[in-house]
């Protein structure tokens, strides 16, 4: 599909020539690693003599920064669409590439490619600092650890995709950021208060952030509210719905 390849090339050019992208890229990686480092250093050594006998689930500490860094990933995603509408550049874009689904697909591809690299850097960097501070081997040494690391990378990419979808739906950066931020962060707060076990389970299973972070679990898997990949799948579902809805709206709406 030559025209799709061209469109992706154009989207990549747009991304790399936007100054805010550079800031967001640096920030998303930097913040994730910094916060992970903070958690790693703050962990009581008595709780965690070796990685295998750690009372805390290692990825939840080592990769904690994901919970904060995701904010910048979502902004990146929202901006990719929000900028077009805010500057009315969407007109130029659709003039150059009139097939609307191609435009959406191209943006999706570009955002996924960029955030995949950034997520890899952020997560790998976090894991490396965890290993370095604790003096353990750098590479994850069990299948479940690899799953947590890889899953966290995918988590961040999905967050950006979610942002892209919402940005296209609301056509405004500020509103999009606000909506996705609340979607993500409200549920964990709610969890603290809601004691009703049925509701707790629902929140942990079906809200994007809680479910998505289930992929970081390597211990007590039977006791977790949702299986790791399944949890990530819930987040993927949210992102998919957002993108599909966005694609439909971009295709059918007038560019006003």
């Amino acid at each position: 599909m030559r025209s799709l390849a061209n469109a992706v090339h154009a989207e990549w050019t747009k991304l790399r020539t936007t100054p805010s992208t550079v800031w967001l890229a640096a920030g998303s990686v930097g913040v994730t690693i910094a916060v992970s480092l903070l958690m790693t250093v703050a962990l009581d050594p008595a709780l965690c003599p070796t990685e295998a006998t750690c009372q805390a689930d290692p990825p939840t500490v080592a990769l904690f920064g994901v919970r904060i860094g995701q904010a910048l990933f979502l902004v990146l995603g929202v901006l990719a669409m929000g900028n077009e509408y805010g500057t009315r550049m969407i007109q130029t874009t659709l003039t150059a590439v009139p097939r609307r689904l191609t435009v959406v697909a191209a943006k999706l591809a570009a955002v996924v490619a960029v955030t995949l690299i950034l997520a890899a850097l952020a997560v790998a960097g976090s894991w490396a600092t965890w290993s370095a501070v604790n003096g353990w081997a750098v590479l994850p040494h069990s299948a479940s650890m690899w799953r947590a690391v890889a899953g966290s990378m995918l988590y961040l990419v999905l967050i950006a995709v979610l942002g892209l979808g919402v940005g296209a739906i609301v056509r405004e950066t500020a509103v999009g950021i606000t909506i996705v931020t609340t979607m993500l962060y409200f549920a964990p707060l709610l969890l603290m208060f809601v004691k009703n076990p049925l509701w707790q389970l629902r929140i942990q299973r079906y809200t994007p952030m809680n479910a998505g972070l289930a992929v970081q679990a390597t211990k007590d898997l039977a006791a977790q509210p949702i299986a790791p990949w399944l949890g990530l799948g819930v987040l993927a579902a949210y992102a998919a719905v957002a993108i599909l809805l966005a694609a439909a709206l971009v295709k059918w709406r007038d560019v006003n």
Binding site: A10, T17, T87, V97, P98, V255
Partner: protein, 303 residues
């Protein structure tokens, strides 16, 4: 050679009818002026041609195809609708760069069009810092990237200095001379006068005229004579007494309707009123347009 064809185009926004059964063609080899007052539906028509909005009825075709079906559309049509539809933080060159990427055009086109519009020195600056005129040039540059056979420009001389206006006119005429189809919209008649060979006039979304400029002017001019005289008041009296309708068009000339030119000369000579010029009245596009839109309800299309 390709053209822009609009057939029975209709578009409503809510209860407002923006475009109502519009049909015309912008042919290759000439500059077609697209005129109408603000809000007449010019921009809407262009947006419908580009597929940015979808028409409620009718078709808008470029080179016989709907815009959305075109592959590498920038090589078919170069369009400038809104010069400020750019990302302000992006450099001008980068703006053109992603456009060439999007249509698989060679990279050198960026520098070529920048040279053409005279923006080469400013290429590395952020587009947000451009003046209105520079943004227009950037928009024109973008339209020219694909070297398209069809150009569609919405008010391209907006914000340009006189030198720039002359340059645009020359550019458009040369494009037409090369056999391209050029559709230029404006609400200022004067700038189209020297440029356009064909004109499409719309008012309130409807077609008012679709004719060559010469024919339009001739129809508007009618049977009128212009007289240049320093004694206008006296001349007016004499001519009016002879049954003519006289109006003053500027400081020194009168426009006389209802009397042949030779009769006017004879009357003035007999009355000893000096005059220096006597010629057939040449309506300006402005006047033609005023007349058209004033009687837009009764008038059918002049063809």
């Amino acid at each position: 050679m390709p053209s822009i064809e609009v057939r029975g185009l209709r578009k409503c926004y809510g209860r407002t009818v923006a475009v109502d059964g519009l049909t015309f063609t912008a042919k290759p080899g000439e500059v077609t002026g697209f005129v109408g007052p603000n809000g007449a539906g010019k921009s809407t028509t262009m947006r419908l041609v580009l597929g940015l909005d979808s028409a409620d009825a009718g078709q808008a075709l470029v080179d016989g195809h709907a815009y959305r079906r075109l592959r590498h559309p920038l090589t078919h049509v170069g369009a400038l609708l809104d010069a400020s539809a750019i990302h302000p933080a992006r450099r001008a060159r980068d703006h053109l760069l992603w456009l060439v990427h999007s249509n698989g055009l060679p990279r050198r086109r960026v520098d070529e069009v920048l040279e053409l519009v005279g923006l080469a020195p400013a290429a590395g600056r952020r587009a947000g810092g451009f003046s209105l005129g520079m943004k227009q040039r950037l928009g024109i540059a973008a339209a020219l990237l694909g070297d398209p056979p069809v150009l569609m420009l919405d008010e391209p001389v907006n914000g340009l200095d006189p030198e720039g206006i002359v340059w645009v006119r020359r550019l458009l005429r040369s494009f037409a001379a090369e056999g391209r189809a050029v559709l230029v919209s404006s609400h200022l008649m004067s700038e189209l006068e020297d440029t356009a060979g064909h004109v499409v006039v719309i008012g309130r979304g409807r077609l008012l005229a679709d004719t060559s400029v010469a024919d339009l002017l001739a129809a508007a001019s009618g049977d009128r004579v212009d007289v240049l005289t320093s004694q206008r008041t006296e001349a007016m009296t004499v001519l009016a007494n002879a049954g003519a309708t006289v109006s003053a068009s500027d400081e020194e000339s009168l426009t006389v309707q209802g009397l042949p030119g030779e009769r006017v000369a004879a009357l003035l000579t007999d009355a000893n009123i000096p005059f220096s010029e006597l010629r057939r009245h040449r309506a300006s596009l402005e006047e033609a347009y005023m007349e058209l839109t004033r009687s837009s309800i009764e008038f059918g299309a002049v063809s």
